[in-house]
């Protein structure tokens, strides 16, 4: 299908249902979008796609943005479901129910979460200690997960857990889809530096999961986890989709609105700093486009870590520069630190329409962006991956590689 044909198909979708129509909810619209194969353009027909090259999805989004005021930003609706759940399901999911699950991810009816990190296993997630033991047709899981974003509103959790402690750590893991409404699943909020609790501790006490919900084979969980993580990193390094979009556009607006008095030299220094950030953001956007143009299909590889490192570190600098532009106004944090429990992560991530929202967003993001270089793999881990998996440099001597997981020291 050519670009023109894709654009035509989007327009015919919009004739059936239009996102600006007050009668059509996000779920309604996105459901029909899915049925038209315009949800995940590279997926097979019938599963929300048309079997096109991955870059066609940006054509779809572009056409949608050109023809409607309302645009449902994928990653804001169900970031983990769309960014990671869908590709993992596509690659490893069993046929029955797959279409319906993908559709509900896309519409946002089912929110997904990622149950990987544990108190003793973060960067070294393959060293995790939660355990699943086979019992008839079920597995019984015990353990604790931590930093689980959106677990409190999720229907499905992507769970990695240990099914065999007697083999080296990577070989004893299995991957499950956990129904978060199962008995024995308990979420507690974790209070973050922003004042929010978007992530959780999740306790698993004798939770039963049917064997049929295992993705991949028993003991092959690490492979599925890697697919998940690579998709996460490429989603987190996606860059702004439009030229001059993203946080840099907010920075430029704040600069134009700034009433802070600065000497000529201070102003020139600030302008150069901002210009560097602007150029870097543009290079990142182009790098994402380039990666998409060369990625034929399927799951992203370790190169996705280029975008993840570059974007997380760039955005931290952009938000920090926003605060510098605000001057003394940056002393005030209007949102306060009273515990807030957002049901989604859209509350303060977007909004660039008025100067009040912009100021609040900058202050919030100064704090929130500190997590960008931790979540989805820290910058140090990303640099290890780039060094070892992309450049082929030798790994560190490992003390945990060839011994049974149960014999590895932990702390």
């Amino acid at each position: 299908m050519t670009e023109t044909e894709v654009r035509e198909r989007v327009r015919s979708l919009l004739q059936k249902i239009h996102p600006d129509d007050p009668g059509a909810t996000a779920v309604d619209f996105r459901g029909v979008q899915f049925d038209h194969g315009l949800a995940f353009a590279s997926y097979p027909e019938g599963l929300g796609g048309l079997g096109l090259s991955p870059k066609m999805q940006s054509i779809v989004n572009d056409e949608l943005q050109q023809n409607a005021k309302t645009f449902y930003e994928n990653l804001a609706i169900n970031p983990i479901g769309i960014g990671m759940g869908a590709p993992v399901l596509l690659t490893y999911g069993k046929d029955e129910g797959k279409r319906e699950m993908l559709r509900r991810i896309f519409t946002g009816e089912d929110i997904w979460c990622q149950l990987f990190s544990e108190p003793s296993a973060g960067s070294d997630v393959a060293g995790l200690s939660s355990r699943a033991v086979r019992n008839g047709d079920d597995w019984v899981v015990n353990g604790q997960k931590v930093w689980t974003t959106l677990a409190h509103v999720s229907k499905w959790g992507m769970l990695v857990t240990r099914t065999d402690p007697d083999v080296p750590k990577h070989d004893g893991l299995s991957y499950f889809l956990l129904d978060m409404e199962s008995p024995g699943v308990e979420c507690r909020p974790l209070y973050q530096i922003t004042g929010e609790a978007e992530f959780n501790e999740v306790f698993l006490n004798d939770v039963r999961i049917p064997h049929s919900r295992m993705l991949g084979e028993e003991g092959q969980g690490w492979r599925v986890a890697i697919t998940t993580l690579m998709n996460e990193r490429s989603a987190l390094g996606g860059g702004a989709s439009r030229k001059g979009g993203g946080p840099v556009s907010l920075l430029l607006k704040l600069l134009q609105e700034s009433k802070v008095s600065r000497s000529k030299v201070e102003q020139a220094l600030l302008e150069d700093r901002i210009t560097r950030l602007y150029i870097r953001a543009e290079m990142l956007r182009l790098t994402t486009l380039r990666a998409r143009a060369t990625q034929r299909s399927g799951n992203p590889g370790p190169e996705g870590s280029v975008g993840k490192v570059a974007q997380s570190e760039l955005y931290q600098q952009v938000w920090e520069t926003c605060i510098d532009v605000l001057g003394e106004d940056g002393l005030i944090y209007e949102l306060g630190y009273e515990l807030r429990r957002p049901g989604d992560i859209t509350s303060l991530r977007s909004g660039n329409d008025d100067d009040e929202t912009r100021r609040l967003q900058a202050k919030y993001q100064l704090l929130r962006s500190q997590a960008n270089t931790i979540e989805g793999g820290t910058s140090e881990i990303m640099r290890n991956i780039l060094g070892e998996r992309v450049l082929g440099l030798p790994g560190e001597p490992r003390v945990d590689k060839n011994i049974a997981w149960k014999d590895v020291p932990r702390g």
């Binding site: 210009t275 143009a293 440099l393 560190e396």
Partner: protein
């Protein structure tokens, strides 16, 4: 934005790479850089006849290959990788563009085939001391004497100014900026090589003392020269990308093979993470250079070129410096090629304007600084 190279593009890259690996290996580079004119006429002839590179962007009707900026970027990237010593940037890019965009049709028909065949090399002398990259600051004025003109004064930082056969000079006639051609052996012309920071690209000062010159453009060439410089900058950014990638490759290869404390130095994170950082920078620079080339005919091409020049310059310098450090003492020796890349990187950062000069252009165009 389209970023896809076609099959033909990949073929071109392979052919050029293969040629350069034979003809511009390290030994050849060292030989050429020691020569005052800095290149081999014989290699230039082969590169023109066998690969058509001297006329790469010259139209077919003038004996060239008729390629555009994307092909030019590919070729420059490959040349940058091996530090080719040749008047490619001066003759095949800058002077060619100036003739193609600024000179009268009869002149084009005369000069371009000579350049394309490789028989002659050309350069454009426009820089004057003080504000060398600013066409608005050109003061040299051609004195008219009937149809003939005479030039007096000095042009500096002229690329391959000593060796070029066709010398183009940008000078004023009245309030207009025009192009003149000066013969190699014209009376009152002295060409003096400058001792270059980067021995792989030669620079000269050209002095004119009532030197006879022929006017070759009947209209004002300010716009044409700006356009020519923009092309040159776009090509240079691709060359910088090629050099930066080569520095990263050298660093990574060495980090894999050099052992200290019983293991490869690349297994230490202090080294590994520096390589990873360079990879990120080089990938961003690649986007910068390719975007400038792919969008060279679009609106906003000047800003894409400015971004590419500032970003690729800084990336190349970073990569060249890091590469020296990762090689330890070896990297500081004359014997090792690492220093040649540092010198090329710094020199190419300076010619046609520093990164901050280009950032200023971006800052004004997107409204960060007052227009």
């Amino acid at each position: 934005m389209n970023f896809e190279f076609s099959e033909e593009h990949e073929d071109l890259r392979r052919t050029v790479r293969q040629f350069l690996e034979n003809e511009s290996n390290e030994t050849a580079v060292r030989e050429m850089m020691a020569e005052e004119n800095g290149f081999s006429r014989e290699v230039w002839a082969r590169l023109s006849e066998e690969l058509g590179l001297a006329g790469l962007i010259i139209e077919e009707k003038h004996g060239g290959a008729g390629f555009g900026m994307v092909e030019l970027a590919i070729v420059m990237e490959e040349m940058g990788r091996v530090l080719l010593c040749a008047p490619f940037l001066s003759s095949a890019v800058l002077a060619t563009s100036a003739i193609e965009l600024g000179a009268d049709a009869s002149i084009q028909a005369d000069l371009l085939p000579q350049i394309a065949s490789g028989e002659k090399t050309a350069t454009l002398a426009f820089s004057e001391a003080g504000d060398p990259w600013n066409l608005g600051k050109i003061e040299m004025t051609a004195a008219a004497n009937g149809d003939a003109f005479k030039l007096s004064g000095q042009k500096t930082f002229v690329l391959d100014g000593r060796s070029a056969n066709i010398i183009l000079v940008a000078a004023k006639v009245g309030s207009e900026l025009t192009l003149l051609q000066v013969d190699e052996d014209a009376a009152g012309l002295t060409r003096e090589s400058l001792p270059p920071l980067d021995p792989t690209r030669k620079l000269a000062t050209l002095r004119f003392d009532h030197t006879p010159a022929k006017r070759i453009a009947s209209v004002d060439v300010r716009g044409a020269l700006e356009q020519s410089i923009q092309r040159t900058i776009t090509a240079l950014a691709a060359e910088q990308l090629g050099g930066a990638q080569r520095c990263l490759d050298m660093a990574v290869d060495y980090a894999k093979s050099r052992l200290q404390f019983g293991r490869p130095i690349g297994s230490y994170q202090a080294i590994k993470h520096q390589c990873a950082d360079l990879l990120v920078e080089v990938e961003l620079a690649r986007s910068a250079a390719y975007a400038a080339a792919f969008s060279a005919d679009d609106k906003g091409a000047d800003i894409a070129a400015a971004m590419a020049k500032s970003f690729c310059s800084e990336t190349y310098a970073k990569a060249a410096k890091r590469n020296i450090q990762i090689h330890g003492g070896m990297g500081f020796t004359w014997e090792h090629p690492a220093h040649l890349y540092l010198k090329r990187a710094k020199a190419s950062e300076i010619i046609f304007g520093s990164p901050s000069l280009h950032r200023e252009k971006v800052a004004r165009s997107v409204g960060i600084s007052a227009a």
